[in-house]
Symmetry: C3
């Protein structure tokens, strides 16, 4: 990609910001972050995973962030930290060009209703729309083309990327990051059948997002039927995720891409749902549950741990032979039991 | 959520609108809808499901909508109906604040082509775009940031939520509800391969939606290759759904979140597809088919009924042992048959 | 759909453009493309598949595009080609009304930053936003409501349909087609955990799309963590697809609807992923791999061929009996082995 100008730091400055122990020339300047293999002398690299230690010896990086146990393998200046992966996260934020890029103010093409309450330093991009009664906290950034519906409230420090949509009455905490194309507060899927056709159940609840929530591109979180859909603090939601009405997600849980959660299911704290996982409606998933990718969960889970379903890919020829047997599985089980009985009698 | 002002009704008015039998003070005013547990004295609650009857005794609701069989358990004013869930649907519509919220007219920032035909009372939100030759029926509401492509036609009473996209030439019936981020009429996925690379097949068909269709947030319905993709009347489509080119969906069918339907498949009337269901291309699914969540359908279905595939989640340890055996299933079946033969001979 | 005016050609012109051998009156005019069954005398039809040869005898089409082997069955003018499906693709492009529809220029409501570099004949639709430093090649068409982030570059001949989003710094090759609602360059999903909460890893990489890439409605391609997410030349991506950070897709590969690819996975050239396929992260899939619909791939694939997982749908009654046995599969395998051992001893 073409980078906007990225900030420059001395190694002394970085050590102070990260709380790291610096070994090397503190006046050296670095202006970016890269892998050990790709880093140039004006960039910092890091070792967050044992499998990359082998690249340490040959790195050209200006400095390397690492755990003290790998210090001996490092011949360039180093920043020592007990959790270098966490240090990498902080470093990445320091070098984020988006933080520097602040056009500032309310663009003249944005349409902002008269009774909107704006905090300090709020930015609203071109052609964004902010409807009546909206409240935006300090330092909120609303990207181009975003729409924020009537009465919605967005906490301080939140950033909406271009073309995100927040529907009427939605409440979002501080420091949220909403990516492009996401929709917070579309109607939940509720209808009553009269025997021949559907009648819409107006979705009168809202959506409440805690603090520090991130929602990926093109993800949708539906509003509740009567009560709210509730996303806890520090919940991280990837792209293409669907969260249905009245779902609750506990603090610090993370949902990977393409996850779908059906209505009224409650997911606990510190849960991790792998890509493409589906949860049926009206379930309770306790704290600390990890579901592996593309698994289907149709029953509540009451014990923390790792859960899975499905079968992995094999060659189509092999698969065809085995998959057809799946339909015979109950029959096979009965025949096996019969043979065992006969064998024990014989 | 923060609610805009919701309408107020007397119980007499509600009884008349719902066709319900009122037992209690008809002059009592209510201004909202809630669950039995949460309802305040100025709200109506309902019993649409036996499992909530236990909450009837303690409810503080101003009135309860219920089936006459539960009248004895109710100590507050009641509205009796044979189908209280349907009554709840009607009630929810009466209290929908969206119905009251009507800014009205064409916003000055909207871009409306000169030759557009607008019905009575059409509303077009800020920064919406309506291209040449579009026809909008009476009472159509187009939300902020929506784009309606050249020549599209949208029937009376339809509502497009903010940032929905209707592509050129698409035809939409009356009373449609299109949620934010949905795309009606993007190109179908068609290419011819010349032995080394792909050549695009221009998608010359359109999309036709019947009356009373709802499409959820971030869902996509692709335009046909030569003929149209056709969605019947009263079809309800949830969020994150993908409908490929030349698919037909019969009247009154309902598709839950994350469903994907491949090209040219025809789904009958009154079908229900659970969340994450996938249908292969060129299939015929007859009327009255219900497919449970995350099932894969690769063959046509000619009998109404409930269909399923896949396996539910279990602990990862248990799953690893079993899933690895799936690759041996054909081998197991053959060995079982061999043992049976030997056992019968013995 | 309601068609804008479609172009008109004589059969002589079509034969020349397609490189086909014409048998019939070259001065005959046609103004559209249709199936053999539906074609009117002013339309062209085609036979790209043996199963449609039966419709040849009765067609009313003005001309038929076909392989010479079917010439004898055709009583109307014909255009003979060795690859009629490829001919159909070319024909569809000739009759595409979108090509004729060119409002032209930069709409007065579009917001284009001052330092943007625009090629020749660039079109920017109403309420589109083009941020600072963007470079658009010749003949680029940007639809209504699109947002192109700071520093992005889009190659000549590319078309962005309405409400597509290209984030800052993304690089797109020539002749791209980006459909409505797609998001190119939202943040990848990266966080470090400090033992109690998540810390965002700023996504400093970009997205690079080669030439001739198509991305469907509501699909998302996330930007890389440090290095770029890379999509090769002539890669075709359907609707509702999720491509995570640092994924690489080789030239000429095609991804059907609802595919999800987790971070850092590399897919080879000429691969085909069926609808709903999920690939785990950090995998290598070699060239020429075809994965059938809704399969889960959790291991790298080193041999070209067709791969599958899962099981197809059956009646729910049959499924319940068999699916419950899946949890007993390892037990069944052990019991079977024990019986065999006993049988051999006996």
């Amino acid at each position: 990609m073409t980078h906007p100008a990225t900030p420059t730091f001395t190694l002394d400055e970085l050590a102070e910001r990260l709380g790291a122990r610096l070994v090397g020339d503190g006046s050296r300047q670095v202006r970016g972050l890269a892998t050990l293999k790709e880093a140039q002398p004006d960039q910092v690299a890091f070792v967050a995973n044992r499998s990359y230690v082998k690249d340490l010896a040959k790195t050209r990086a200006g400095a390397v962030l690492l755990h003290p146990e790998h210090a001996a393998d490092c011949s360039v200046p180093r920043l020592e930290l007990d959790n270098p992966y966490l240090g990498y996260a902080h470093l990445s934020q320091l070098f984020d060009p988006m933080l520097a890029a602040s056009p500032g103010g309310i663009h003249s093409s944005a349409v902002v209703a008269e009774d909107v309450a704006l905090g300090e330093r709020v930015e609203v991009g071109p052609n964004a729309v902010i409807e009546a009664g909206v409240v935006l906290g300090d330092d909120v950034v609303v990207g181009a083309g975003c729409v924020i519906g009537a009465g919605a409230r967005i906490g301080s420090g939140s950033r909406l990327h271009p073309n995100a949509t927040v529907c009427h009455g939605v409440i979002i905490g501080a420091r949220a990051i909403l990516h492009s194309g996401c929709v917070i507060g579309g109607d939940g899927f509720g209808f009553a059948h009269d025997g021949s056709r559907w009648h819409k159940i107006a979705q009168l609840g809202g959506v409440v997002l805690g603090d520090d929530v991130e929602v990926g591109s093109c993800s949708s979180i539906d509003r509740g039927a009567l009560e709210d859909t509730v996303i806890g603090n520090d919940v991280k939601i990837d792209s293409q995720v669907q969260i249905a009405h009245n779902v609750h997600i506990g603090d610090h849980s993370a949902l990977a891409g393409c996850v779908g959660i059906a209505g009224s299911t409650h997911v606990g704290k510190n849960c991790m749902l792998g890509g493409g996982v589906g949860l049926s409606g009206h379930l309770t998933i306790c704290d600390g549950v990890h579901v592996t990718g593309m698994s289907l969960v149709t029953n509540s889970i009451h014990e923390p741990g790792v859960y899975s379903s499905g079968t992995g890919a094999m060659s189509n020829g092999q698969w065809r032979k085995n998959a057809v047997r799946f339909k015979q599985l109950d029959d096979m089980a009965r025949r096996l039991a019969r043979l065992e009985k006969r064998s024990q009698q014989g």
